[in-house]
Symmetry: none
Subunit: 119 residues, 4 copies
DNA sequence: GTGGTCTAGACCACA
DNA sequence: GTGGTCTAGACCACG
């Protein structure tokens, strides 16, 4: 995993984990790697991962049990909400960026269609 | 002008100026206010405005002439080239992001349409 | 028995046992279940129960006899003395805390009354 | 300021600041000491204070502006809510503790009255 | 000068 | 073995 220097590492890891959950790579109830093993795997400090897990718990995405580990929450609804949220954020920032460049609604839709056709 | 605490003030001001240019409020060749006057008008630190002008110049949007001030670039073609480039990069990263979330081509187009309709 | 993740399991079990003693479910002199049987019954690690018994003994609530097991203490007077002491400490720290929050004597008494009424 | 070893330092500092706000020692809109000055004053690491300010912001008690500092929120209602919350937590844990010791509602009220009279 | 992030390394509480 | 807290010290972004 490569990190974008402009964005805090811990945020990038959070996004990665959320993505893995929505894609089913991490299943409900499954145990996440221990703080230390994930830290060494990603070549990152333990504290950074600890922050990641803390934030995930605060958002209700995982639950942490001292001495046991962190587990993905079993809440189906929550997971689909995460996916919708992430998609919405992507779309918003995309549309906003295009508008700042002077594109109107039709222009944006048209550009996307063109891009898809080329691919 | 009110600022969103979450985003650096200097970025917010840059966006404002870029918008003013595309909307024709600031015309090609026109002189921007001096660093000091803009700073006092927006009730913002002089350093902040200095950074704004620096970034604008770096992006080729304005040109600074020592002792005279900053001026909006006259080079129309260059600006439109930059715009196309930025748009392409925006679209690419957007599509890539959506695919990582598990969306296919149709899903992406559909999401954009839905979002536009809501707005 | 369900456990609250925020509080150490061993503390929750201790409280449960203390309650059982005051309610007479566990009588003076009675033998507590073995570490292993209690652990398997509560689906909890053996170490955890060991710590529970250790703490109970440290507090003088039980006594452990090697090879025989743990027994609820018979010393009634000592237990009631401990209780009075604990109660006094509880009250003191409570009153001190309320005063730090700016409550006067009447305010404290009033708050307690209100809380009791709600319950 | 002395710290109780059993409770995380950052939590103790948070409680201290909340108390100061409810008591009017820290007024609405007022600037909190900088992370570094508070850290050196309390002889605590900078990171620890940073966590304190972060949590306070997350709870809506303060607002932080990068490069400027942290400020107490101007929300009157929020402040009185903090006080009520803190008092409620104190009362709850006190009553719960007394009940575990075998005191009934009348016993608790009586004990408080006695304690107040002695003082 | 101010907050934000990160590292390396330590010690503790819990299961 | 697992998470939680803390320290010392560093570098960066922002005003």
């Amino acid at each position: 995993m490569d990190f974008d220097t402009r964005i805090p590492i811990y945020l990038q890891i959070i996004e990665k984990i959320k993505k893995d959950i929505t894609l089913g790579k991490l299943k409900k109830g499954e145990k996440l790697p221990s703080v230390r093993s994930m830290a060494s795997e990603l070549k990152v400090n333990v504290n950074t991962i600890q922050r990641v897990y803390q934030e995930l718990e605060r958002k209700g995405i995982t639950a942490t049990q001292r001495g046991k580990g962190s587990f993905v929450m079993e809440d189906e609804e929550m997971i689909s909400k995460i996916k919708d949220d992430m998609a919405k954020r992507l779309i918003e920032s995309f549309v906003e960026g295009m508008k700042e460049l002077g594109y109107g609604s039709e222009g944006i839709v048209k550009s996307i269609h063109e891009y898809m056709r080329e691919e």
